[in-house]
Amino acid sequence: MANFDKELDARGLNCPLPILRTKKTLQDMGAGQTLKIVATDPGSVKDFQAFAKQTGNELLESAEAGGEYTFFIKKK
């Protein structure tokens, strides 16, 4: 997935910081915009699914490569 409006580097951060930083970053974005997040916390895979489900922001993609987790979230 190539298109995104903003990127958040959450590498090295542990629960709940990746989610909290994501929430904060999304606040400054417009509806329909896409945020890319890169994290290293293995717990973030389930957490981002749960975050999307509960906030209504859509999780477009979730991928893992070389110990890094990449998420694309579209703001509601």
Partner: protein
């Protein structure tokens, strides 16, 4: 969609037990919950202006005692230090606290001050138990700005309508 509500009672005043209420409150706020924490007894330590939280491994067999520095094999050792030794060595709690803070940092876990700031930014409502404030001889000026003071009835006003209610 009506906002969900989370009510937490925070009763513990050690560095380790400061984490659960603040992690859950800040995360709930990020998920759109209206969140309130009622700080009572030792939980008041979490809302003091000057955070001074310590952890004690004494009488806590569940706490791993591992070093946050050195080579991997060294970090992996769980130091089984008898309670009697922990109790008699001066500054053992301060040492354990320093080591835990370093471990927290190494793991990219937020500090308590950081989590508390995130809660406040996210409008988590914080209430201190007036009865324990007086019982322990605190002054309102000992606490962070924006803190409200109330009693059990104040807690139930919010908790009675909450979707999730936790005693920590």
């Amino acid at each position: 969609m009506s906002e969900k509500k989370l009510a937490i009672i925070a009763t513990k005043g050690t560095l380790d037990w400061a984490y659960p209420p603040l992690i859950l409150a800040s995360t709930a706020a990020a998920l759109g919950y209206q969140t309130e924490i009622f700080f009572t007894f030792y939980g008041l330590k979490l809302v003091e202006k000057k955070l001074d939280l310590k952890v004690s491994p004494l009488g806590n067999p569940g706490m791993p005692m591992k070093m946050p520095f050195g080579p991997k094999w060294f970090r992996g050792i769980n130091w089984n230090i008898p309670n009697a030794v922990q109790a008699i060595v001066p500054g053992f709690e301060s040492l354990a606290t320093t080591l835990m803070k370093q471990t927290v940092k190494n793991n990219g876990v937020a500090s308590i001050g950081e989590l508390r700031d995130l809660c406040r930014e996210a409008d988590v409502k914080m209430i201190a138990c007036q009865m324990t404030v007086e019982l322990f001889g605190f002054k309102h000026s000992d606490f962070i700005d924006g803190l409200e003071f109330g009693g059990a009835a104040t807690f139930f006003e919010f908790a009675g309508e909450s979707d999730v209610c936790l005693f920590i």
